[in-house]
Amino acid sequence: MVAFKRLLLLAAAFASSYAKSSSGDSVLVIVEPKKQADYTLFLDGLREKGYDLTFRSPRADAPLLTQDGVPSFSHVIFFAPDTKSFPSDITPQSLVSLLGSKTNLLITLSTKQTSLTSLAAEFSLAPAPPGTPLISYFPERSEPLNVVPIQPPSTSHILSQNMAPVWFSGTPFALGNNPMLVPILNAPPYAFASEVDGGSADSLVDAAEKGGEGLWAGSRMGVVTGFQTTTGARVVWAGGAELFSDEYAKKQISQGVESGNKQFAQEVASWAFQESLVLRIDHTEHHKFNTTTPSELYTTSDELVYTAQVSRFYPERGVWKPYSDLKDLQLEFTMLDPHIRIALPPVEGKPGTYSVQFRAPDRHGVFKFVINYKRKGFTHLLSSTTVSVVPPRHDEYPRFISAAWPYYMGAISTSVGFFLFSAIWLGGEVKAFDKKGKGRKAE
């Protein structure tokens, strides 16, 4: 009986550990205790995947985000979009430093102005003015104007294909030029930000006439946007918390068509929590062509071979596997500037291996093999290996150079000429004396 129980426990442990984030399983959910039940479907989905959830009220002082300078959780979810003031350990600065220590954040905003709204500006997101949610008159529906169904893009790496439309209500934000931004869900082209009653027609016309600043409208606005920091941490900004709620997950888009909210919320969370699109470089190596041992020192114009091993995290099993599907990986051989920048193609038959052979530039100095792969949504791949490239040693130059043959021939012919001259001079002495004698006589 005891053994059976153990077996059950073991099975449970396996079940809960089959899917894990690549960066840790502890999640802090900051949510009003009263509203906790609103997100049951989403939070249970996370638990099923194997996450370890801890809850904290936005007003409570514990548990702390960081303790003794070490982040206490791997991921933090903010389901408190209306909270104006947080306890002293949750400040924009502390959240930014959390990102620096690779903690991932999922932050929801609302149409109210909070400290998180101003933090959004630091991520190149400009939320619409307070009190102006996303409004759309299309498609015709019984729901209020500010509850908008949005069709997720079909070309996204983060979301799966052919997802049902997603219910959204909340604030849209304009996206800045920051290359770290990863748009996940944008507003529909016919939506705009306005007061809940839709605003009077006159006020809309006035706003539109003000140009750029005036009317917040169109599909350039984001409603769910990711941001990947240079440290590799991920943040997802959502314009409204209702997107993740049970209510919207169960709400049908039209008669008999389930909304995509449940799936969307899980997929967004799996991107934010480093499950999907997570890559890493396992190791890199370099050596001279026709040798196998790496060297710290190469000679100019050597043929070099550089190899990188790339893995991708597969959350279904929670394992890293070799990944050969990067088509646009590049290698740079740099000394301040890239002297060489070439494609680093995958090697056929060797999963996860990317290799290229190239000739070192005819330039000596301290060079770096650099992989700098930054694609929207994917983990940034950065690798840098320093090597020295030196000129040939004094005995490594070619002994005889074809271009110098005229000079060699010149020197040799002079010597041969000298020997022939000497031989004839000495051998032809008698005759020469005769001649010289004649010359003397003539004189």
Partner: protein, 118 residues
């Protein structure tokens, strides 16, 4: 005689010079001159190659060119020392002694040239 020489001069100064050289120069000196001509051509060819094509192994150019120039100088010295016309100036130097100097100088020259060539 005078009209003939005038006629000759009128023909061409270069031609008369050539004729005088052919008639008055001992064979031994002509032989030396042909060697000098060869050295000069060789030097000119190397110089043109250096200017027009490539001067890359510059030490090789210097060695090749210097060997022709040096050999030219040594041979020219030999020529002036064995020339019977200059006998008054080189009373103490016999032709054998001049040749020995020439040979020794050339060997030393070639030693340096081959050291510098490659």
């Amino acid at each position: 005689m005078p009209p003939k020489s005038a006629q000759e001069k009128a023909r061409s100064p270069v031609e008369s010079l050539w004729k005088a050289y052919n008639e008055d120069t001992p064979d031994r000196l002509k032989f030396v001159d042909s060697f000098l001509l060869f050295l000069m051509l060789s030097g000119i060819i190397q110089f043109m190659y250096c200017v027009l094509v490539i001067n890359y192994p510059f030490n090789a150019f210097l060695a090749g060119f210097a060997s022709t120039v040096g050999q030219f100088v040594l041979t020219a010295s030999l020529r002036s020392q064995v020339n019977p016309v200059n006998q008054g100036e080189f009373k103490d130097v016999s032709p054998e002694r001049a040749f020995a100097d020439f040979a020794l100088g050339s060997i030393v020259l070639h030693f340096f040239v081959y050291n510098f060539l490659g």
